[in-house]
Amino acid sequence: MNPIDGLLTGFATVLTPGNLLLAFLGCILGMLVGILPGFGPAAASAILLPVTFALGPTGAIIVLAAILYGASYGGTVTAVLLNVPGEASSVATTLDGYQMALKGRAGPALSIAAMGSFVGCIVGLIGFVIATPLSKFALLFGPPELFAVTIFGLSIVTGLAGKSLRKALISAAIGLMVALPGLDPVSGAPRFTFQSPELFDGLSFVAVVMGLFGISELLSTIDHNIKSGRALPVGKILPTASDLKRSAGPIGRGTLIGFAMGLLPGSPGAAASFLSYVTEKRLSKRPDEFGKGAVEGVAGPETTNNSMAISGMIPLFALGLPTSATTAIMLGAFTINGLVPGPLLFDEHPEVAWAIIASMFVGNVILLFLNIPLVRVWVLFLRLPYPVLYGVVLGFMLLGAYSLENSIFNVGVMLAFGVLGYLLRKIDVPLAPMALTIVLGQLMERSFRQSLAMSEGSPTVFFSTPLATVLLIIALLALLYSGIRPALARRTRFARILAPKSEVPVPANISTPTSTDRNQK
């Protein structure tokens, strides 16, 4: 069956009242769970998996896929309104999404996120249909290639630095430290666990980011006298024409970045959205607006997240290879329903396979029409007096952290990182690099040591395949460029200051700095 015929057959199956209702319910359930702090697509899929048992194979996968992207959008809502990332890949959205909310532009932020998510998913699905053979590319990635990818990820850190590169590096190093506790990724021996069984699995990433971003934000706001008025200003709901124009490029680029990253096995979601964020910051004509409410900082990462979520399913469908926790849960759902994902799925159960793909198209349309009007509902939260929001959100986060593993330990982790994040904010250490390197750290160490184990200690393993060589060279160049870029920028600014005066007369009340003035500073 060729892809076009398969897709048309799939649409015929999905566009029935029963399956449409299932897709709709999946979107709603996914969003409601995804909004809860600490619950992302993986947790939502796991919690709601039993709901699918009685639905049959097609219905079950339709609901689960809808839950997946519904939960992804739910995480965006908390990231924008509360600065609490619902999942790893929403962290980048908090950087500018929350700043937009502080300026009364939560509505446009959520709307742009919904539109970007929709475009990312739809284009990702088109790529899914056309580019399924590309999934074989994923099999070429071994430890040396993955190590090169993580090195490339480190170069993103400098793009997340604010005014101080030193403090960004400190944040990144702390993130690498946070990834240390747990079992050694190669030998399996406990490391930095302080004889505590709770630490054998390492620190929960969700609890850590909830604390770093959510709790620290709450503490930073409540530590001064806040008025009892509205939590945040409420402005227009829909984006302006300028917002849409500025978002077009980031949405296009985000789709490509997310699609490519989603194909990689073990691809860290947070890294992809940060990569999109930094790319947009570097390409923007207004880089100074990033971190202060630039709409591009929401459009790019959100599109990347959703495009990646779709392309991450390609290895699952085509090769039976899950590339993330969420796709692993989907694999479980396939197995429970007697389906075996992989090359034979399209041969043995083409009606099921294409129905699932068609349902993703339909589900994303449902989500778009659901989300745009719902922006008004989400924004109602902003009308609450901040002290009430503070108490309720804090309560939600305590509950969310406890629910991760029914463990008070995770609540303690969240609170500890909340205090850490609060203290780091006081000395202007950015938190975003830390979130990135927590994700990259373990993968970097594991791939590095596995590579050397494969080659019995020979470092030439990192150049053993053309793919590994090319990736490592690109990664090292990116790292080098990131390191010298701030110095180049300073040199350029300095050169502009020293440049001969222009022929345009300078008004008398403006003085240009002299060397004496500079020395006195």
Binding site: L176, L219, D223, G395, L399, N406
Partner: protein
Amino acid sequence: MTTLIKEHAVEQISAGTISKGYLLANRIGGGVIAGIGLYIIQQALSYGVLRDGLPADGFYPLIVGSLLTLLGLSLLVSAKSEAQERGEDSYVPERSGMIKLAISAVAIAGFLLLLQPVGYVGSMVLFLIVVLKAASNLRILTILLIAVGFTLATFYGFSKALGVPLPLSHLIPLAALGF
């Protein structure tokens, strides 16, 4: 600590004026980070750095610890240049804000201690009453309504709808109500 910061704080943050409190905070931060880095290096060496010519359990922590030590020392030494650029979040907390934070900390500690014996419903209601009373000037009846409403909604939403078990109370009155 608060007194120390107050003694060193300069209230105005204007071009060319370095806040001594901010400078001190940067130096303390750098020192703590460097100290943690040294501890990690010490632990890394105890795990072993190389084994049969291959990186052992302590290899990667040694790199991380070294980075932290170097960067922490760098901040400690260069704090003055860092203090020239001060961000919005770096202000000294107000006294009333510190009191709210302290009360929140006590409320959270109380919540965690009471969670198992009193159960989720009882401990969350108490937590919200304390926090909302400290952070807002709402009437007590409003606070009670918010606390009870939120707690019951989340209790039923998580435990019944989502199947996430929450601790139940060992106290007879609450246990009799199913909480």
